[in-house]
């Protein structure tokens, strides 16, 4: 199971402050105690959090790939996880290759956000989500069926 490192945890806990001090090139430090020293720590913790987030997100990759590979061709979109805090895949359904879509996991504002994106706006996204939910329901049904069979 993926674990969250201590610097990432700190970053998530102090999301607003770390975002303003670590992400901005020239942060406004008025009111910050011992700004130089504090900023040095912010950068060290921020750098470590970026490394930890990359390891954390990487742990999701095999599961996502395995899930979509059963119905589609899955291609990892290479990006710098440490900078982007986002894991991304391009998914091409085997039966309808023209209906390509992207899925991913982002860490944003302390929320781990699984997302899905399709050309065509919300309607297309809803359709894909519905298909995924349908597949999940079918899998759940098959699991129950197998369980009931086994009980007999």
């Amino acid at each position: 199971m993926a674990s969250i490192g201590k610097c990432l945890l700190f970053y998530l806990k102090h999301w607003t402050e770390m975002g303003r001090l670590y992400d901005e090139d020239e942060p406004d430090v008025s009111g910050l105690p011992t700004p130089d020293l504090t900023l040095e720590k912010v950068w060290a913790v921020g750098d470590a959090a970026c490394r930890e987030v990359a390891e954390f997100l990487e742990a999701f990759a095999p599961g996502i790939e395995a899930h979509f590979r059963s119905i589609s061709t899955v291609e990892r979109v290479r990006n710098n996880l440490e900078n982007m805090w986002e894991l991304r895949f391009r998914v091409t359904p085997k039966r309808v290759p023209s209906r390509r879509f992207e899925v991913g996991v982002s860490l944003d504002r302390s929320v781990l956000l699984p997302w899905i994106w399709c050309r065509g706006g919300r309607r297309a996204e809803d359709e894909v989500v519905e298909l995924q939910e349908l597949q999940t329901r079918v899998e759940e049904f098959e699991r129950r069926l197998a369980y009931n069979e086994a009980k007999r």
């Binding site: 201590k6 610097c7 009111g31 913790v45």
Partner: protein
């Protein structure tokens, strides 16, 4: 001690970006890679370790910083009128789920800047020009339009979000000006988008002052022009309009302006509106209010009282 093997996942990725079928790879490449891999891996793992004590002291410093900003915010909030956009829960476009719709914002901005039924005259446009030109100006306005079709000489057309033009009135007589605004919220610039607008602006009759404004949530610089576009954040725009709004309370469009500003602050700038001093993010509101009331940084400053 033997070097750890190159992970299979890495080799699979390498095959993806550099397929052996189609790319000439030196025979020794993998062996070379294997030789440097342990050092690179060890070096990556020896990145500066952060001690728990450092995390504790940093956490304390950030808490002090947050409390400082909360106190500042409380001081500012005490100076705001009850109907201030920062205290208002209703966002103009948020009610339609169009809170970050670019065209809604830029069309509303063009409407506010022009002399329309809101009754502001050109007060907001004057305030924006004063901000972008860096000093108080008296202006005569010829026209303010939104979604202006700007066609390059290649025939490629784009729609400039806001175009305004007129004359500055000063001691040295009247001088012409043109203001163009291109706003972006979630989208990026199109290919050579601003360069195409530059070309269109350059083909128009020359103005003494050409003010190009690139309006974005974070005030970023544009990528597609070499001309001097002024990067303006929506937060700064809101502060400029809010300062001017103080003198417009009796005009028919005042409440529309307040709802518009609430939407800009909440939906575009992500300020937690309605703001309270004990909220988790006092910083953006303090930054905005510092700009609205530049003279009232500390207790006892002259603010705009309820």
């Amino acid at each position: 001690m033997t070097a750890p093997p190159v992970p299979a996942g890495f080799l699979a990725d390498l095959e993806l970006v550099c397929p052996t079928r189609t790319t000439a790879v030196a025979d020794t490449f993998l062996a070379d890679l294997e030789a440097v891999y342990p050092d690179a891996r060890a070096s990556a793992r020896q990145q500066q370790e952060v001690a728990v004590a450092d995390l504790v002291s940093l956490g304390e410093a950030l808490t002090v910083w947050r409390e400082h900003n909360r106190r500042l915010l409380a001081d500012y909030l005490a100076r705001l009128p009850a109907d201030d956009p920062l205290l208002n829960p209703v966002s103009l476009f948020g009610t339609l789920d169009y809170g970050r719709l670019e065209t809604a914002h830029t069309r509303a901005l063009a409407w506010l800047l022009g002399d329309r039924e809101h009754g502001f005259g050109f007060r907001l446009l004057e305030a924006l020009l004063t901000h972008t030109l860096g000093g108080a100006v008296a202006v005569r306005v010829g026209r303010v339009e939104s979604e202006v079709v700007a066609r390059s000489h290649h025939g490629t057309a784009g729609r400039l979000d806001v175009l305004a033009e007129g004359r500055l009135i000063g001691d040295a007589g009247e001088r012409s000006w043109v203001l163009v605004i291109e706003g972006k919220i979630d989208a990026g610039e199109g290919e050579d988008q601003l360069a195409r607008y530059d070309e269109w602006v350059d083909r128009r009759p020359p103005a003494d002052h050409t003010v190009r404004v690139f309006l974005t949530p974070d005030g970023r610089e544009p990528d597609t022009s070499t001309e001097p576009w002024q990067a303006l954040s929506f937060l700064t725009l809101a502060a400029v309009l809010r300062r001017a709004a103080a003198a417009l309370r009796d005009r028919p469009g005042y409440h529309f302006l307040c709802y518009y500003l609430t939407g800009v602050l909440r939906d575009v700038c992500e300020v937690p509106v309605p703001v309270s001093a004990d909220g988790p993010n006092p910083y953006a509101a303090v930054e905005y209010l510092r700009s609205v009331f530049p003279q009232a940084e500390t207790e006892g400053g002259d603010g705009e009282h309820r």
